[in-house]
């Protein structure tokens, strides 16, 4: 066992796993300090996530957008960009999906792909701006994406209200052919909102992995991210790659928006402030080591904390504990060097 833990080859998954474990441990300690029985709390959490088929379905519903924003942030990280703007890209993506969902009337097998595509394209366009400004004017993408988030929020709120039939809070429903939701999935999960988005998220992770690891395009993107000057030396178009990489990152975030607008809700909502998916995406990406498949898992984990927090609240555990646990998991994930050192020392002292 100790040898298994010490072996560096296993660290790739042992370390995130330990981070999660420690995160829950820290949450438990806080619960104990504040007079709550952590076992009860966690039992409620587990029940809240897998307690019945409906909760199980809702877990997946909560996870799909997180997986996509996780992929979005991770794609940026892998290519040397910090996309703090997934939130804004998500907002425009969700809007674009709804617009196509309302106004284009074609059969579902064309409509749904079209809806998703437009969400991705809208997100990509929102990502284009910071990408372009970075490539052309060397403006720091972090500032631009922060500003783009707020801009998206307000402008899209305006746009939603401007759509025919919209009230001050929402658009009309999308056409059924544009919706990700599924009678079948809903029925097998006891009327949850489970929709096909989850499969699309998995597909997204595969695409992510494939682009990054298996294509010359991904090779270029990574190269440019790590060392732009060497990439230029190797004949790559550095600026174009920066822009493209920001756009792809934006496309993933745009799809996260589609998960919400044509998956969870089936209409566009006017929202007063950002809902935090973009920032959660940072956590998801980081815990998922910026790698496609691990992001599915970390997205599911954070999705569980989200989906399960209602149940915890019902068990009289303050809802904030979910956030606190999330924070600790991220914190421990950040300490991977420390954890590795700790693992390496394991057993050594016993000898």
């Amino acid at each position: 066992m100790i040898d298994f833990l010490r072996n560096e080859k296993n660290h790739k998954f042992v370390v995130p796993l330990l981070s999660v474990l420690f995160g829950f441990l820290a949450g438990a300690i806080i619960m104990i300090i504040t007079g709550i029985n952590p076992l009860e709390g966690y039992r409620a959490l587990v029940k809240g996530v897998v307690g019945n088929p409906r909760k199980f379905g809702e877990w997946f519903v909560a996870s799909s957008p997180l997986i996509f924003t996780g992929l979005s942030v991770a794609f940026g990280f892998r290519t040397g960009l910090f996309n703090i703007g997934a939130e804004g890209q998500l907002i425009v993506g969700s809007f674009a999906a709804v617009v196509v969902g309302i106004f284009v009337d074609v059969p579902a097998y064309i409509h749904l792909p079209l809806v998703l595509m437009s969400a991705a394209v809208a997100g990509a366009l929102w990502g284009f701006v910071p990408g372009f400004l970075k490539a052309k004017y060397k403006v720091h993408e972090v500032v631009v994406t922060i500003m783009m988030n707020y801009s998206a929020l307000h402008l899209i709120n305006y746009a939603i209200k401007a759509l025919p039939g919209s009230t001050k809070t929402r658009s009309v429903d999308i056409l059924p052919s544009a919706s990700l939701s599924s009678e079948f999935l809903s029925n097998i999960t006891n009327h949850s909102r489970l929709h096909w988005g989850f499969l699309i998220a998995v597909l997204g992770a595969i695409v992510f992995w494939f682009i990054i690891e298996r294509t010359t395009f991904g090779y270029e993107l990574r190269s440019v991210g790590f060392n732009p000057t060497a990439s230029e030396y190797a004949g790559m178009k550095v600026n174009r790659n920066i822009i493209l990489s920001m756009m792809i990152s934006g496309a993933f975030a745009g799809l996260a928006g589609a998960m919400i607008s044509v998956g969870t809700f089936d209409y566009a909502r006017v929202i007063a402030s950002a809902e935090g998916y973009g920032f959660d995406g940072i956590a998801v990406a980081l815990l998922g080591n910026n790698s496609g498949f691990a992001i599915i898992i970390s997205g599911m984990l954070f999705g569980a904390l989200k989906a399960g927090s209602s149940a915890m609240a019902l068990a009289s555990v303050p809802k904030e504990i979910g956030h606190i646990i999330m924070a600790f998991i991220v914190l421990f994930a950040a300490m991977n060097y420390g954890i590795k050192r700790f693992l390496a020392r394991l057993g050594k002292e016993e000898k």
Binding site: F217, Y219, T229, E232, A234
Partner: protein
């Protein structure tokens, strides 16, 4: 006091390697003591131990006869030990003054007294002949001047024992001889010097004694006067080393590269290359000699497509490539070993295998329809590291950053030579390498020539130019001031031309 520094039986381990294994180094006051060894022999490590950057696992250190425990550079400074590191430790956007006073700032009411500092620095630089501009920013000054700043840093701290780690690897011949003078002057003023260098000539020129280490182990300490270069070299590598580059006469054929009236600006918007004309032919190695900063870097960057060309024309194998991009030139048949391997040559966070296809990843068989073929890439990479003897911890899976400089360089050379480009531009291909590695790379360049390829060798190292090239073009202020047959060229003649004199131009050979 017989020795000012004594490092006795020092042992320093790194994970998986003993960098210093029972090494002893004794330096007499007032001497220049050379430390010699191959790449990775453990010289820098030993000096880092002396300077307090690393703690040794075993051994003792005596300074001026007293046992000391140097746990951090502050203590070393306090003992009068100063170090010029292999890679300069200068803050690029600080002024010369700020870099020198950092950590020991003269203050006045809590505020740094820059004037006082600048005055002190002026005095110091006058005393030791170290010409610097105290208010210039590091990023704006030449490498030679940066080194003088490093030296001033030590002197400012009243260092008595000065460590130079490979100080000449980045210097021009002129700067090297200046540095030698400076060192002599320092010793005369009562300082003691430890000098690390791979260049035996330099050791012969200034050092009094020399300690040789090999693979972390102490080999010997010799009086330099009594040891020939050959002896030093064989002590260092443990075998005979040949200094003469053996090669047949060149057999030049058609023109491969033709440059006419080239003008290129540098990053400060001045004409660095200023109406340069040059021709390189297949089957020859053309060396470009010159003092650093005369437009070499800009010339290479212009030729390879990394820098914009103001005017003039570049023809590569009959194609006008003046305004084509990097990729196009590569495909026409240009290879490039860049001067700065970390900036241009490698993506340090890539695995070695990935770096070995940096120029070809998009071509068959390494990829098809935009999809990488991992198997082919690995196969090729393995082939290359075997052929070029690129060594690293985990073979082609090693993260390039973790490799030694010498091996990183070999990887680049392998990648570029393997494509066997019609024209290979080699920018300082052996910078900082030990003699064994240098010998290898030189052999490879000559092999290319013999295959009928053209090689353009740009180096600040006159020996290298003279040994390897068939013809030598001397660059001065962005122009070629003359081209001479390497066999007929003498060091004095080249030296004069590099200083801008054109009197020997008639000997130049411009067909």
């Amino acid at each position: 006091m017989e020795y000012i520094i004594e490092m006795l039986n020092i042992r320093k381990e790194f994970p998986g390697i003993v960098a210093n294994d029972n090494i002893t180094l004794q330096v007499k006051p007032g001497e220049i003591h050379a430390l010699l060894g191959e790449n990775g022999a453990g010289k820098s490590t030993l000096m880092s131990v002396l300077f307090g950057l690393y703690q040794p696992e075993a051994g003792e250190i005596k300074v001026r006869g007293e046992n000391v425990n140097i746990t951090d550079p502050n203590i070393a400074n306090g003992l009068g030990i100063g170090m010029v590191h292999q890679h300069f430790k200068l803050v690029h956007n600080f002024t010369v003054t700020e870099n020198i006073i950092l950590g020991q700032e003269p203050t006045e009411n809590g505020r740094i007294n820059t004037q006082k500092a600048a005055k002190e620095i002026k005095e110091l630089s006058k005393k030791y002949g170290l010409d610097v501009d105290p208010s210039a920013k590091i990023e704006d000054i030449t490498v030679g001047m940066q080194q003088r700043v490093e030296i001033l840093k030590m002197l400012y701290r009243n260092a008595e024992i000065l460590i130079f780690d490979e100080p000449t690897a980045v210097l021009t011949p002129q700067e090297i001889s200046e540095l030698m003078d400076i060192m002599r002057r320092l010793v005369k003023e009562g300082k003691s010097i430890i000098l690390i260098t791979h260049k035996l000539k330099e050791i012969k020129a200034v050092a009094d004694r020399c300690t040789i280490i090999r693979r972390g182990k102490y080999i010997d300490t010799v009086d330099v006067e009594d040891a020939s270069e050959e002896v030093l070299a064989s002590l260092m590598v443990g075998r005979e080393v040949s200094f003469v580059v053996e090669k047949e006469d060149a057999n030049p054929k058609e023109s491969v590269l033709k440059i006419t009236g080239l003008v290129v600006k540098d990053s400060r918007d001045l004409n660095a290359v200023n109406g340069l004309c040059l021709e390189v032919r297949a089957g020859e190695i053309l060396g470009i000699a010159g003092v650093d900063g005369n437009g070499q870097s800009e010339l290479i960057e212009a030729l390879t497509g990394l820098r914009k060309i103001e005017s003039g024309k570049i023809e590569l194998l009959g194609h006008d490539v003046t305004n084509t991009n990097v990729r196009k030139r590569t495909e026409i048949g240009l290879g490039h070993i860049p001067q700065d391997r970390h900036k241009h040559g490698l993506v340090l966070d890539f695995k070695l295998a990935e770096n070995l296809v940096l120029q070809t990843y998009y071509m068959q068989p390494y990829s098809k329809n935009g999809i990488l073929n991992a198997e082919e890439i690995k196969k090729k990479a393995q082939e290359l590291i075997d052929e070029f003897d690129v060594r690293s911890g985990q073979g082609i899976e090693t993260t390039t950053r973790a490799m030694s400089g010498g091996n990183q360089q070999k990887a680049i050379v392998a990648r570029e030579i393997d494509r066997s480009p019609k024209l290979l531009i080699a920018g300082q291909p052996t910078r900082g390498l030990d003699v064994g590695a240098i010998e290898f790379i030189h052999k490879k360049l000559i092999e290319e020539r013999d295959k009928g390829k053209a090689v353009l060798l740009v180096s600040l190292e006159l020996d290298e130019i003279m040994n390897v090239s068939d013809r030598i073009a001397v660059i001065y202020e962005g122009k070629i001031v003359g081209v001479v047959e390497a066999q007929k060229a003498t060091e004095q003649q080249l030296g004069l031309m590099m200083a801008g004199s054109t009197t020997d131009k008639e000997e130049g050979d411009r067909k």
